[in-house]
């Protein structure tokens, strides 16, 4: 069995004052740490917060959102996907309950991007009302779904 500190001869609890003094050091240390984490969280938040909308919510806001970093959730409209040969430009429409948002994107298209599939696009609204996506985040399906 283990020897318990309390049963060790000569052990006595430290006086309360000493207790508090010692605790104080650790409490101050912990508080500094928490503040530091909080500060980092704030800095990171300021740099990466994005408003999250569905297509309908976005369209109802009109031009108020132009220039802000946004994430928009919807489906890739089947038959809307256009990719010009010879470059990385992609055009498609994100749809949600009948409302459509035209999207342009330049870059590598993830394999999980599929017409009819759920998608989140991150980017911002251009003045002409198209959404310029910087990142495509299609949902990773766990199974085949028939194409609608």
């Amino acid at each position: 069995m283990k020897s318990d500190l309390r049963q060790t001869p000569g052990y006595c609890r430290p006086a309360l004052g000493v207790d508090l003094l010692k605790k104080k050091k650790f409490i101050i240390g912990g508080a500094v740490l928490l503040l530091a984490i909080g500060f980092l969280a704030y800095r990171g938040f300021a740099g990466s917060a994005a408003y999250y909308y569905t297509v309908g919510e976005l369209l109802s806001q009109g031009n108020a959102l132009s220039g802000k970093v946004l994430r928009v959730n919807g489906q890739v409209l089947a038959g809307s996907v256009e990719q010009k040969p010879g470059n990385l430009d992609l055009k498609f429409t994100v749809t949600q309950s009948g409302q459509n948002l035209p999207v342009t994107y330049r870059g590598v298209v993830p394999d999980t991007f599929k017409p009819g599939g759920d998608i989140v696009v991150e980017g911002s609204l251009a003045p002409d009302g198209t959404f310029v996506a910087k990142t495509l985040m299609p949902k990773c399906p766990s199974k085949y779904l028939p194409v609608g």
Partner: protein, 662 residues
């Protein structure tokens, strides 16, 4: 066969409920016969669920597509390995897999002979069987894998080709195994609270259980990252997606728990904290499943969602959390620390700091993950935070955690003397400074954060090596063994401690890989005619030719590339693109040339009729270190887990020596 499967589930549910009741009544009224009967019921649940899994497997292998689950996740053309993986590929199957693994762990738990903690088994068994009951209810009422379709389709939907990769074969079972594994330590913690046996017993019992779950969760996460890297073709391995965060959070709290349990065993402190940590780990494990399955957060991974399933998980998490916290509240007076933290400069302090940092990171990740929901509740707008948030918060935290892994080995328990510190830190400190100067001269100064991180990593390796050499040197002097034999003897004589060191080295290597690939990666996109090349860093990638052919269900495009360096031939690469016509699914096979220095990673983007092709070429430094570090981390965990061949030595006395754990 489906009826048999369903009946087996019903009987298993009855047995699980009976077992929980028998355990509780038997324990409360002191009737060993009843406890014994509960024990047998656990074995029965395990047997029944094993048969149930066998039945589902039989149905999968015989292509019984009338079963909805099998029609959704398998097909005739699927190779055997992926037929097997369809056992856990879908929602219903994964819940069954979870219940089955839990029943196996529960059976091992009740059968195990134990010198310590035998009195804790009945309540722990009851908690485990109640958890089992929850999953059996899910299986019977919400996620029945044996549900039949009204017709029999000629073929199943098959497994998404993206998931047909060895990484994806192993990722789900290990991840689930890890999640499930935390049930046992949680059950023992609750049992300790219920029976008011709040000493070290339960920690002695759960140490190895926690390690097993931790190892499985580590393997699961590593396979997930590796799969994303080689299969998904975006050149990354972790994206701070909600579901990825969900599997990372219990890993963090479990890591904290593995450290803080040593504090209680050695010094009798942090008793409440330990219980909170294991409860949190268990709740976060369930939360992981909930996030994956409920679709409440928009994740790239959230699968077929069911609101009922989601609310049941949420209810279970709530019961778990409030139940255990209420118990904790009742027992609070009995959980007083037996000692005080004595000095800020002591191993206890480093452990405490490590715990605060790991839990702080978990908290920040939790906050970031749920931010859309929180902000919608508070301000009415959904605001989500992206990877920069997580990197900002976690980068410094993990740097500090890595540094602590080195510092803690050099600081003694209780109170370290200044002389001692100077002696222990001298050589690793000097080596760290030399390394920093070297890296600076080599040009890492372009990126001060990386310079700092690499130096910290080097310092940690130096401390661990110097510590090992010091101990081996002592053994060499005393026993006359040569250094190698002495080191080996040390490691085998104290596996928990040196296994822990090995894990630390693994973490350091992973950190080097992560920092290297994040800070120094170079990307270039190029559209090439056959014969043209693109230069990225020192690599010249030439597009030689391409090959296209059509088979029954897919068309395959293969590009032939030659990689050279200053006219020096290095290798040929053949990235591919498949297109499955029936499902409109594109699968990109990236080509990777991996060395210790860096990965050359080529993504085929697209082709045109005139013969040109577009590629994205990425140079990802040090990625191999990440996978190697991960392997070492798992090996270290196994070393720490490995039982001592000799009869277990008596546990070390508190606050003496430092020959157990790290």
């Amino acid at each position: 066969m489906t009826d048999i499967g369903y009946v087996l589930l019903v009987v298993a549910l009855i047995a699980a409920v009976y077992s929980a009741i028998a355990f509780v009544i038997g324990r409360r009224q002191g009737k060993p016969a009843l406890v014994e009967s509960g024990r047998n019921a656990v074995l029965a649940v395990c047997g029944l669920l094993t048969l149930c899994v066998a039945a589902l497997l039989y149905l999968i292998l015989t292509h019984s597509f009338q079963v909805e689950y099998i029609a959704s996740y398998s097909s005739r053309g699927l190779p055997l390995t992926y037929l097997l993986s369809s056992l856990w590929a879908g929602n219903e199957g994964s819940v069954l897999f979870w219940a089955w693994v839990l029943s196996i762990l529960a059976a091992i738990m009740v059968v195990q002979k134990r010198d310590v903690g035998a009195d804790l088994v009945p309540y722990a068994g009851a908690v485990t069987m109640l958890t089992e009951t929850f999953f059996l209810v899910l299986l019977l009422f919400v996620a029945n894998p044996f549900r039949l379709l009204p017709f029999t389709p000629p073929d199943g939907n098959g497994l998404n080709p993206l998931l047909q990769n060895p990484g994806m074969f192993f990722h789900p079972p290990f991840l689930l195994g890890g999640y499930v594994g935390f049930t046992i330590p949680f059950a023992f913690a609750v049992s300790a609270l219920l029976s008011n046996r709040l000493g070290d017993e339960w920690l002695v019992v759960v140490r190895r259980w926690t390690l097993v779950a931790w190892i499985m969760l580590s393997i699961g996460n590593l396979f997930g990252g590796w799969w994303a890297y080689v299969e998904l073709g975006w050149g990354g391995y972790f994206a701070w997606d909600p579901v990825e965060n969900a599997s990372f959070m219990p890993w963090l709290t479990a890591t904290a728990f593995l450290h803080s349990m040593m504090m209680q065993r050695r010094r009798g402190i942090l008793k409440v904290w330990n219980i909170v940590l294991i409860v949190a780990t268990f709740a976060l494990s369930i939360l992981g499943t909930f996030l994956t399955r409920s679709g409440v957060l928009n994740s790239v991974h959230s699968f077929a969602s069911s609101p009922l399933l989601g609310s049941m998980y949420l209810g279970f998490i709530a019961v778990t959390l409030f139940g255990s916290l209420y118990l904790l509240y009742l027992r609070f007076p009995d959980l007083r620390s037996e000692a005080e933290m004595e000095s800020l400069v002591s191993r206890e302090s480093t452990f405490l700091l490590n715990n605060l940092l790991l839990v702080g990171a978990t908290f920040a990740i939790l906050l970031g993950t749920f931010f859309p929901i929180i902000s919608e509740a508070v301000r009415g707008v959904k605001v989500s935070v992206g990877p920069p948030f997580f990197n900002w918060v976690n980068g410094p935290i993990f740097l500090a955690v890595v540094l602590l892994a080195g510092v803690c080995t050099l600081i003694g328990w209780r109170r370290a003397s200044l002389k001692n510190l100077r002696h222990n830190f001298l050589w690793p400190g000097i080596a760290g400074v030399v390394l920093a100067a070297l890296l600076f001269a080599l040009g890492v100064r372009r990126h001060p954060v990386a310079l700092l991180a690499f130096t910290a990593c080097g310092f940690v390796v130096f401390t661990i090596v110097s510590e090992l050499l010091r101990a081996a040197g002592a053994r060499h002097r005393i026993r006359g063994e040569n250094i190698l034999k002495a080191s080996w003897g040390l490691v085998t004589a104290n596996r928990p401690r040196y296994g822990g060191y090995l894990v630390h080295i693994g973490v350091v290597l992973m950190a080097i890989g992560i920092v290297g690939s994040q800070a120094f990666n170079v990307e270039r996109e190029a559209t090439l005619k056959p014969g043209e090349s693109v230069t990225v860093n020192r690599y010249v990638v030439t597009y030689d030719s391409h090959d296209e052919y059509q088979t029954q269900n897919k068309s395959t495009y293969t590009a032939a590339l030659t990689v050279s360096n200053g006219g020096h031939f290095l290798t040929r690469l053949a990235p591919q693109k498949y297109f499955y016509a029936d499902t409109q699914q594109t699968v990109t096979e990236v080509a990777i040339r991996s060395t210790w220095a860096e990965d050359l990673y080529v993504i085929p983007v697209g082709t045109q009729d005139d013969g040109t092709a577009t590629f994205k070429v990425i140079v990802n430094p040090l990625v191999k270190w990440l996978w190697t570090g991960g392997t070492i981390l798992v090996l270290g965990g196994v070393v720490a887990f490995w039982p001592n061949r000799r009869k277990a030595a008596p546990a070390p006395a508190r606050a003496q020596g430092e020959h157990d754990g790290t």
